[in-house]
């Protein structure tokens, strides 16, 4: 008996986590998937009724806006954060004397919650008292910067705040990558008289491909999950101009009492995340095996 026990101790230790993950991750996903195929409204119903919720979802202009916003926001957020992060990393990599201090300054937003970030930017972007008022006060009475309350532009304020929050982190990733490039190759290139910018574009940056991939995955994941920032900065408004799938799902689940819509929109979100993450994790795990 004690022998059996000692042989199986490792499995027994893992068992609670195993069952927790089975139930709270995969079981719950299955539940949500099931509900997304029913006519559930305020209360869940369990009789499958085909794709009715998905039909409703994709014929709802609000969801259309949310999904569009996700792609616009996600693309801008990812591309600008990566470019900015790479630029800052390369600048910081030039033997800067105050590198430590600058790194700290660039990265601290990542320690803050999105709610705090949103609150701060909401104040700065407030047309009545923020940047617009400030520049007008400098003697430019026609200056306009009212993105926050302009339905066409409000989405870009979210991009602005999200970049502020995450680009320092991308910088840290890239800086670590730059420092891990083989110094010998770079020295050899310099001895040959190849200009610094060529060394970067031809040798260093291409060798950091895996880091670009990681940064992309992290940023894409952040973009899809973005919820707090929208709530704190615009509340999804004006109207529902800055709705994202995450806020749509929340509104359906907790204020509209439409579980079917909440479930189907959550499933679409998961589909998008998995389409990005699964191939990545698969290749990572495979690489470890070889």
């Amino acid at each position: 008996m004690t022998d059996w026990l000692s042989r199986h101790v490792p499995k027994i230790v893992l068992a609670p986590t195993f069952f927790a993950v089975l139930l709270f991750v995969y079981g719950f996903i299955a539940w949500t998937a099931w509900v997304s195929f029913t006519r559930s409204k305020l209360m869940p119903r369990y009789d499958i009724d085909g794709l009715i919720q998905y039909d409703r979802l994709f014929s709802n202009p609000r969801w259309d806006t949310a999904l569009n916003n996700l792609f616009v926001f996600g693309a801008l957020f990812i591309v600008i954060s990566m470019v900015l992060g790479l630029l800052l990393a390369i600048f910081l990599d030039q033997k800067i004397r105050i590198e430590g201090a600058l790194r700290t300054i660039y990265l601290y937003p990542m320690a803050l919650s999105m709610i705090v970030t949103g609150t701060a930017w909401k104040w700065i972007l407030n047309p009545g008292l923020g940047i617009q008022a400030m520049v007008q006060g400098w003697g430019f009475p026609n200056f306009k910067f009212d993105w926050l309350i302009n339905p066409k532009m409000a989405l870009y304020t979210i991009v602005l705040a999200a970049i502020w929050q995450a680009s320092g982190f991308v910088m840290a990733l890239f800086l670590a990558g730059l420092r891990s490039v083989d110094g010998e190759i770079i020295k050899a290139a310099q001895v040959d008289g190849i200009p610094t910018w060529r060394v970067y574009t031809a040798i260093i940056i291409p060798s950091m491909a895996p880091i670009f991939l990681s940064a992309f995955i992290v940023l894409a994941h952040l973009a899809i999950k973005s919820f707090d920032l929208v709530i704190a900065l615009t509340g999804g408004g004006p109207g529902y101009a800055t709705d994202l799938p995450a806020t749509y799902m929340y509104a359906m689940a907790f204020s509209r009492g439409d579980l079917g819509q909440a479930a189907s929109s959550a499933m679409i979100m998961m589909g998008v995340v998995f389409a990005i993450v699964v191939p990545y994790l698969y290749s990572e795990l495979r690489a470890k095996h070889d």
Partner: protein, 296 residues
């Protein structure tokens, strides 16, 4: 590249010096961009409402007053309740401390098994655990709300601790597993020959080596739980709301005069614990961030 001097042959001395100045100027401009919100928050929180209305966004306060801070801490209204952030700050501590500890301890044991006591199916389970880290939480929100309701934990602090522990396990396990993998198997084999068992080996070999990874995991989990809003707003009720939810309620409450100085003071208070962690243990914070996102 620590050993990479700029090539000597390129450009004149003057040209290089100008380039250098440009570089520093650029870096400082970006530093201003990152610091601006913090600066504006801090100065706004120290101004009176009158000064905010008449002064400029980036002006320093003419007269420093801490009224906004004391109101944010103990008098601001979050909906109908007007007790400031104090009770919610306390809620966040009550949620994050047990949440961090439990998920870290379980993660350490799990990581130890995955790294050193491999069995058939362990890899598959690990892969499933990893995939679980990446799900958007929206997909578990509805069933979790129902389950917490069924078990009478809806809107309670233990309920939130439970949720954070469950969904933190993937990451804590991952951290410890990746760290323990680097400890040579021979060590475990030798200890087994000496008659040491599973727990004994963990206790006297692995645990003493674990300080760095414990710090990383604790910082990661603490910032995750402290900064969480989605679970907080979905699963808490008036008495158990974490500070992020309270902050959002203060800022977005529509009754009364908008007190921007109180909003900013409240935002700083809500951000202070994780900011402190970042300042004190920045090295580990960065390690946690990169480990949590890069290494599969």
């Amino acid at each position: 590249m620590t050993d990479m001097p700029l090539p000597r042959s390129q450009g004149s001395l003057l040209g290089r010096r100008l380039l250098r100045w440009g570089l520093y100027a650029m870096l400082c401009v970006f530093a201003l961009y990152y610091l601006l919100p913090l600066f504006v928050m801090l100065t706004t929180s120290l101004k009176s409402l009158e000064e905010i209305r008449t002064g400029s966004l980036v002006a320093l306060p003419r007269e420093i007053t801490f009224d906004a801070w004391s109101k944010a801490w103990s008098g601001a209204c979050t909906g109908i309740q007007c007790e400031g952030l104090k009770p919610f700050f306390w809620n966040s501590i009550l949620i994050s401390v047990p949440g961090v500890l439990i998920s870290t301890i379980i993660g350490a044991m799990n990581g130890y098994v995955f790294a050193q006591w491999r069995f058939r199916g362990a890899n598959l389970f690990f892969a499933f655990l990893l995939f679980g880290c990446f799900i958007p939480f929206q997909v578990v929100l509805l069933p979790m709300a129902r389950m917490l309701g069924i078990f009478g934990m809806a809107g309670t602090i233990p309920g939130l601790i439970f949720v954070h522990t469950i969904y933190g396990l993937g990451f804590t396990t991952l951290f410890f597993r990746n760290y323990y993998v680097t400890i040579p198997h021979e060590l475990v084999r030798a200890a087994k020959i000496d008659g040491a068992g599973f727990f004994r080996i963990f206790w006297s070999i692995f645990l003493p080596l674990s300080l760095p990874i414990c710090v990383v995991t604790i910082i990661w989990q603490f910032t995750q739980i402290w900064n969480d809003f989605l679970f907080g707003v979905s699963f808490s009720s008036a008495g158990s709301q974490p500070i992020t939810v309270a902050l959002n309620n203060i800022v977005n409450s529509t009754t009364g005069v908008k007190e921007y100085n109180v909003d900013m003071a409240a935002a700083i208070i809500a951000g202070l614990p994780t900011l402190l962690v970042y300042i004190v243990a920045g090295k580990y914070f960065i390690r946690g961030l990169t480990a949590g996102s890069v290494k599969g």
